[in-house]
Symmetry: C2
Subunit: 210 residues, 2 copies
């Protein structure tokens, strides 16, 4: 199995070769899918950005996950226990492939090359998702808003191989992602600037500490 499996090329080659999938295109702010118990949908984001969003009974909005190119999502990854609404919202124009997980799992009758390759590579793809989720948990378990912000910035910095990077969120969305109040986060952001930890120019953050 290849750790560096190239999803994008693979998809381009095979995405039209199987009957058991649906390809759809969404424009910004459209709802890509809603999580429904027992349907076991699995989706692949071919292009664009989308967020998994939860609205709870207190009216709080939480960005549970942020998806970019090649991300996997769908209720197959989620045990839906509460009555909270879970939906995936397109943050830009998106191209999405839809499957029912069992179809991938059991392969389709045609035994097509697409399904074969995908099911071979599924463990690695899902494993990537696990490491993403663990990073998210590391962020969320930080005890203060300051540590959450610094933790998230440090993650983006590592990903971009630079102390300077663009935020992939609006500040409103960032607060919903870190699961904190927006105004409290703005206050902390201001303190981080005043204390010389960061610089912020438009949507760009520059880390000033070693």
């Amino acid at each position: 199995m290849n750790t560096n499996f190239d999803m994008q090329n693979f998809i381009l080659d095979f995405s039209n070769s199987c009957q058991k999938q649906q390809k759809k295109i969404f424009s910004k702010n459209e709802v890509v899918t809603t999580y429904i118990k027992n349907r076991n949908q699995l989706c692949i984001l071919l292009d664009g950005h989308a967020d998994l969003v939860r609205y709870d009974l207190n009216g709080n909005r939480t960005i549970v996950e942020h998806f970019s190119k090649n991300a996997l999502f769908g209720e197959v990854f989620y045990t839906i226990t509460t009555n909270n609404e879970l939906l995936v919202e397109a943050k830009s124009n998106c191209t999405v492939l839809f499957y029912i997980y069992d179809d991938i799992f059991h392969k389709c009758k045609n035994n097509c090359k697409f399904h074969q390759t995908l099911s071979e590579n599924l463990p690695q793809l899902i494993l990537n998702k696990v490491t993403d989720l663990n990073m998210r948990i590391e962020l969320l378990t930080k005890r203060s808003t300051r540590d959450k912000l610094l933790g998230y910035f440090s993650l983006l910095s590592t990903r971009n191989l630079s102390k300077s990077f663009e935020l992939p969120f609006s500040l409103t969305d960032l607060a919903d992602y870190l699961s904190v109040d927006r105004s409290a986060m703005m206050r902390e952001l201001k303190l981080l600037k005043e204390d010389g930890f960061i610089q912020k120019i438009g949507n760009r953050i520059i880390l000033l500490y070693k």
Copy 2:
């Protein structure tokens, strides 16, 4: 592939048939493993309970995950970015199988039945881990200590198919698991009792709401 793959029976049948694994036994409070960058260890907990614990620079202790029988863990699931210490502590006597992930992935030279079955079932096993992590994220994104407690209790209640259940943690550990201050959590627990949401007898919680 079988969703109800019986790990335990499988392990019992095959756990001695492959060279590329190590089986070890730990007693309570021993360190099962420490997460080390790039080693890509994968472990299976055959029996007992263990916690993945993180100690951060502020001296806070966080229980990142709680493992019971058949749980998968190891740094293969974790991108180690920070300098925080990550270790798995046995909470009771434990039996653990150790692998290097690549050995499972690429199958061992013998092409033994054990590896074959395990790699066939790995997607489903990892998928279970994903759903667990998503439940954990749902808990951690709750905004108040009260909601975290109620969320966790409701989860245990669902798992035990009963409004009454034992806590798998000491209260000290529960606070570290929910990522809140212990004394603040105790205060909230008291309020939940006073407000008639729960009853607590020893280590047992009884949910009193519909």
